[in-house]
Assembly symmetry: C2
Homo-oligomer: 181 residues x 2
């Protein structure tokens, strides 16, 4: 299906509550362990989602509207989430994600984007010309890639505990890891 603002926002506005219901007060073994060296814990993913809402999606959307392709998006620092998770409990990160997401969606709605606006273009530092519509679709799909990652990180903690079932569980065979963009 094509990007549609109503569908995109419907998904974006649900993610914080879904993660809250899944993660709040869960034993730390689920949320503070990762998938091995140089991989992220659930905590880190949550901090990354906050970071991306603050410094990636809406700043890029605003740049498309104000400058079009004459400016290139700032490169997004994939390690920038470390700053956001420092000294924060998981509960605080969940609260923070709900807050920044609501703020970002409020700003998005205030833009009163038209079908023409959605076809306006900006410049991505890696792959050049992109539309505002593609950026917004990616924002929603990015939530899904990280929900996908969170479920995989959590399943990974039981990779031995499940015994012979491991090879039948798709989540334990997943190699769909996101790349920096």
């Amino acid at each position: 299906m094509e990007q549609n603002l109503e569908n995109t926002v419907a998904l974006l506005e649900r993610t914080p509550a879904a993660l809250d219901a899944l993660l709040r007060d869960l034993p730390e073994k689920w949320t503070d362990n990762n998938e091995g060296e140089n991989t992220w814990s659930v905590r880190a993913v949550l901090a990354h989602l906050i970071h991306a809402d603050e410094e990636d999606w809406m700043p890029r959307a605003k740049m498309i509207l104000s400058a079009g392709e004459t400016q290139t998006f700032a490169t997004f620092d994939r390690d920038g989430h470390l700053l956001y998770s420092k000294d924060k409990t998981l509960a605080q990160l969940l609260d923070e994600f709900a807050r920044v997401r609501a703020k970002a969606l409020g700003e998005l709605l205030e833009m009163k984007l038209t079908a023409e606006d959605l076809e306006r273009r900006g410049r991505h530092p890696s792959f050049g010309s992109v539309t505002l519509s593609e950026l917004l679709a990616t924002w929603a799909a990015h939530d899904m890639t990280h929900l996908h990652q969170i479920s995989r990180i959590m399943a990974f903690q039981y990779r031995e505990a499940v015994g012979p079932w491991a090879r039948f569980l798709g989540v334990m065979q997943c190699a769909g890891h996101s790349a920096a963009a």
Copy 2:
């Protein structure tokens, strides 16, 4: 980490609310489309989770305690969910999943399982001897494999809408699909 009843239950009891927060009242385009021929929609996954709670996990746990390896688990029908989703709205399926999960966890807690009980064995129709502990760990990991699948099905709906970002989103490269077991 090893299977631990407290950790397992903590995860199992959160899944229905997480799916509720993610999916209730979401536009049907997200929940009624699938990933192509012979794949499941989000609706179908939800019906499968209900079906598995009713006919797989707890019936197998009870059989381990009552009969050990002298009986073989009934084969689980991976198409059995069709019966559960027929004529039901997504909202009804969410309500139903919350209900059957709460009932199943109530029964699990009433078993007052000891460490010895968790090492008791049953017989799986495909791969033979398994412990109760492995069965319970798989129940939780099975929630995660289907949350993983749900996020992938939803991301798939925007595979074209995201334009050049598609190849950077791990969820769009995932080949970690579950097999029947």
